[in-house]
Amino acid sequence: MSPSANTTWTGRNFPDAAHEMLANSQIRRNVRNATNIIQTKRGKVVRELPDWEKLREAGAALRAHTLEHLDHYLTQFETACTKAGGIVHWAEDSAEAQQIVLSLLKEKGVNEVVKIKSMTTEEIHLNATLEAAGIHAIETDLAELIIQLGEDRPSHIVVPALHKNRQQVREIFSRKMNLPNLSDKPEELTGAARSYLRQKFLTVPVAISGANFLVAENGAVCIVESEGNGRMCLTLPKTLISVAGIDKIIPRFQDLEVLLQTLPRSATGERMNPYNSLWTGTHPGDGPEEFHVILVDNGRSRILADKEARQTLQCIRCAACVNACPVYHQTGGHAYDSVYAGPIGAILTPQLADLHAGRSLPYASSLCGACYQACPVKINIPEILIHLRSKIVQQDQKTLGGVFGIWNLGMQAARIAFEHTILFTTGQKLGRIGQKLLVSKDGFIEWLPSIGGGWTKTRDLPAIPSQTFREWWAKREETRKK
């Protein structure tokens, strides 16, 4: 199976991709229903905690502290993990991470691996690399399995098949598992997945996972999940390879006290995940005989060096911001055309790509602040979006096309007018004259040229009235003096 057009990210312009997604009413309905359900559940379990805001603050503080001392905690993790029998690898970018995984698998001589849902392996495009080398990666998370069998892409960090409803899942399973009589009852669908996967758990000797947290003080790795399929992967195969971003470190075991309260509540609206797995190294007769951790940088050090944007790395991938985002509600995840969708994707993707890709994403937000309000580790996403916009503006201003582009010219003109009141008031007067041909009888503009046309496509605009406020005020003052 080669990766089809559907399964690759191309980094399209957000407005174009969004335009297409908005025409897909089925996906929009699915996204709306699913985010509504998660939002409602989250609201309920968050409200029942009187100290929710304190937990957010604690989470933010401990994540920020870790990032300040990341070098220290990473080496502490390496030492502790090695001592417990694990083998730690370092990967500077996705190519290096792919090579490490490939050489480990070649050493084992396998042509199949089982996988636990992992955003980091998505980020480094691991499945496609493995396929190209003749190794088939079997996704064992139910939603990831739906995505994989449907030759689709995940549209959500936590709920990757959120854009699919069960009729669509039935269609995929029945086609790919050759089950013509399968119904769309959830029990039957999960039953089909169970029989399909159980065979693999028992026979495939190598598993690949991500990680939710890496505990520096004892070298433990933590994964939380809902189905138990992850637990199967973590315990049955002989070799386990965990791929994790260097940002996944937490200093102490005790820090889980905070994050394992906020993560499940924020992610799936549960008080606790059904499966919480924590393991350190290897233990004879218990679990994998060989355990590897690949610590992936892939642009994270660069983000860490940018003080304004560093808090991006506080993220614990709960996707509460995604579920809260009114833009995501309309477009779903595929419009972002990146591994990470929603508000966190809008700040993470362009930074991981050093602004060589995802340049339209920082603008894919009305800056409404719902993401910041929902974030369990208080990442000020709107502030970072503005910071990234400013970096893009500054880059563009170094090119001729950017300097003479309509946005830059407009913004420079507006800046000069706002600096000099006389120019601002002259602009108001000129606008009043200039709009004459465009204004309808009842004082509205229904059509505008150029970038203004985006507004008037669906909305009327009030015309500048015959008297601005300052003109009214000046007249009133004059009358009063008399």
Binding site: V327, L367, I386, F424, W455, T458, R459, T468, A474
Partner: protein, 245 residues
Amino acid sequence: MRVSLFITCYNDSLFPKTGQAVVSILEKLGHEIEFRSEQTCCGQAHWNTGYLQEAIPVIRKFVHTYLDAECVVAPSSSCISMMRDHYLKAAHLANDAKLAEDIQSLLPRVFEFTEFLTNKLGVEDVGAVYPHRVTYHTSCHSERSLHLGDGPVRLLKNVQGLQLMNIESPEECCGFGGTFAVKNFDVSSAMLSEKVRTVLNTGAEVVTAVDNSCLMHIFGSLHRQRTLVKAAHIAEILASTGGAE
């Protein structure tokens, strides 16, 4: 109290009635209003679009204009949130310690209009009469930056004759977002149709908010669709005495 009115650039240009309403309410409450004519903009459009360097001189002008004012009131929560959330950062970016100091001295005296009434003056009933069905849109900045809570709603509840209609998801963004409405007009319009649907479902005759920017956006669609629902800034409702609008 001598209140300096910061009308904001877009209210000055497009919504003079809102400013007139603010003047009439505050004068009725016995305050003296001044209008510093050198005022223009708070710098938000530049800042939020990523033109940070260009926003700095605009911010500086605002600060210089009002530095010695007793208090400043603006009928726009997004402009006030621009000041509270970003002004200090702008001063740091400009590497201007004096500007930072001036901002810290000025900002505690700057208020959003309804916040000024309920929190500073302790007024919740301005003696308005407005016999209409009204629904209140909670603008993003009023809720998530200024944390106005139910202040504006308490003001509306004390208006004689006003019937407040509950709206579904009052805090969900209308999709305006400044230049977002133009750069991402398709998504912005989709968000707006959701908002307009909830406004129409309330059966209200008028939709109100503390920001004309959201109202301009919402009414832009209500007007395009030829609905009979009107939009009015909360100050215009609070200034009403029940006569013809």
